[in-house]
């Protein structure tokens, strides 16, 4: 009984080693070629959504510019006074 159990363990061990070796040597068909700086940059830039509603609003960040253009166009200025972040960094 002990011998049988030992034999079973040895067989099981060999099967595991064989499977592991096979996994290690099998080429990863889904693997991408290693990225270059340029290819990775293109990948990152592709994350940017091309047309988002909030980017359609031409926010100014300078009060003087805003009032000057309001005067020129004969319109009021709508001021969004919020957290101290640059107007174009989009996180709020």
């Amino acid at each position: 009984m002990i011998v049988e159990a030992k034999w079973l363990l040895i067989c099981l061990g060999m099967a595991v080693v064989a499977a592991a070796t096979s996994w290690a040597q099998e080429p990863d068909k889904g693997a991408k070629p290693e990225a270059t700086l340029e290819s990775l940059k293109a990948e990152v830039e592709a994350l940017k959504a091309t047309k988002v509603a909030w980017r359609e609003i031409a926010w100014k960040s300078c009060l003087l510019d805003g009032l000057k253009e309001a005067r020129t166009k004969g319109k009021p200025a709508l001021l969004w006074i919020f957290i101290d972040r640059p107007a174009d960094d989009a996180r709020c």
Binding site: L40, L47, K48, S61, L63, R71, K73, I81, A87, A90
Partner: protein, 322 residues
């Protein structure tokens, strides 16, 4: 004419002609932030913080236009109307003080706009993009909500770049661990959602937990005085109910695996491109009811319940010459 102003300038205006304009606008504010309509003379027509519903937003704009037609300049005294919520919650008006600050056409020669101060020479400007992923691993189509799509910006200071250069200078042919001061900067900005849910260095004062932040670099090429380094890293950050405006059950956790490149020239970082993939869990405003009427509770944010795959990208380069 849409103008986004930093609250600090309205609440602590500089002591000059432009500052007097900011002071006049801030004189009638309800709280240190909000939406304000002014005529070109800088006289406030209306303040508003929230709206009864979506239709009220357009009604407010129409209302402000009517006020502008009556008070297009500083010739006639105008009281600032104020709404905690338009139109149902009006608070008392603030009377005109009879002063009309001069509106300069431009900033004095040699002086920067206070809204866009000059960056120290050599500062690198980093732009970050972040996307929530759907179950198939593709970016979620919605790009309006910041828990689905985010663009952010941050600066890598000259001193931080110097420390990075020092660490890389010790590398030889072996891989080298990047300094925490630099990598924390990257990890801090890689999150979805509004500013209030920033896991590290939260605006509410909590530092958050930096559970893991290990980045390594190995030189992979050089030329024309610069060296290219391949970067790999892992990060895990967490914050809980100590986030600004957070309540019971709120939490934010981001776990990412990073790879990319840094190009260094002497003590300066000339290019940085990084990509990160991982998972993110964000619960904010958990104790609140799901309320589709979001314009009725603008200042404290809204309920967010997110748990998904995410990806981020960062591209940095030296700031353009002034």
């Amino acid at each position: 004419m849409p103008v986004a102003l930093k609250a600090a300038l309205v609440n602590n205006p500089p002591d000059d002609a432009e500052g007097r304009l900011y002071r006049e606008i801030g004189r009638s504010k309800i709280v240190p932030q909000g939406i304000c309509v002014v005529n070109p003379a800088g006289k406030v027509l209306d303040w508003v913080l929230m709206f009864d519903d979506d239709k009220s937003v357009l009604a407010f704009l129409d209302h402000a236009l009517e006020r502008f037609a009556k008070y297009p300049d500083a010739k006639k005294a105008v009281a600032a109307e104020r709404y905690a919520r338009f139109p149902s919650q009006k608070v008392n008006d603030v009377e005109d003080n009879g002063e009309a600050p001069r509106v300069p056409d431009r900033h004095p020669k040699g002086q920067h706009c206070p809204a866009a101060p000059a960056l120290p020479e050599g500062t690198a400007v980093a732009r970050l993009l972040g996307r929530a992923l759907d179950k198939s691993g593709k970016p979620v189509a919605d790009t309006v909500r910041q828990e689905h799509y985010v663009e952010d910006r941050f600066h890598v200071a000259v001193e931080t770049q110097r420390k990075l250069a020092e660490a890389l200078g010790d590398a030889g042919k072996e891989r080298v661990r990047l300094p925490d001061e630099f990598t924390r900067e990257l990890v801090t900005h890689a999150y979805l959602g509004v500013l209030d849910v920033q896991p590290l260095s939260n605006p509410g004062g909590s530092q958050g937990e930096l559970k893991r932040c290990q980045f390594w670099a190995r030189a992979v090429g050089s030329g024309k005085g610069s060296t290219l380094w391949r970067v790999e890293g892992e990060s895990a950050v967490y914050n809980g109910e100590r986030m600004a405006n957070a309540g019971p059950g709120d939490m934010h956790e981001v776990k990412l695996t990073w790879h990319g490149f840094i190009e260094m020239s002497g003590k300066r970082m000339t290019r940085l491109v990084l990509s990160a993939h991982g998972t993110e869990r964000l619960r904010f405003g958990s104790a609140r009811d799901k309320d589709p009427n979001e314009v009725a509770s603008l200042p404290a944010g809204r309920r967010i319940d997110l748990s998904c795959g995410v990806c981020y990208g960062i591209i940095a380069e030296p700031a353009a010459p002034d």
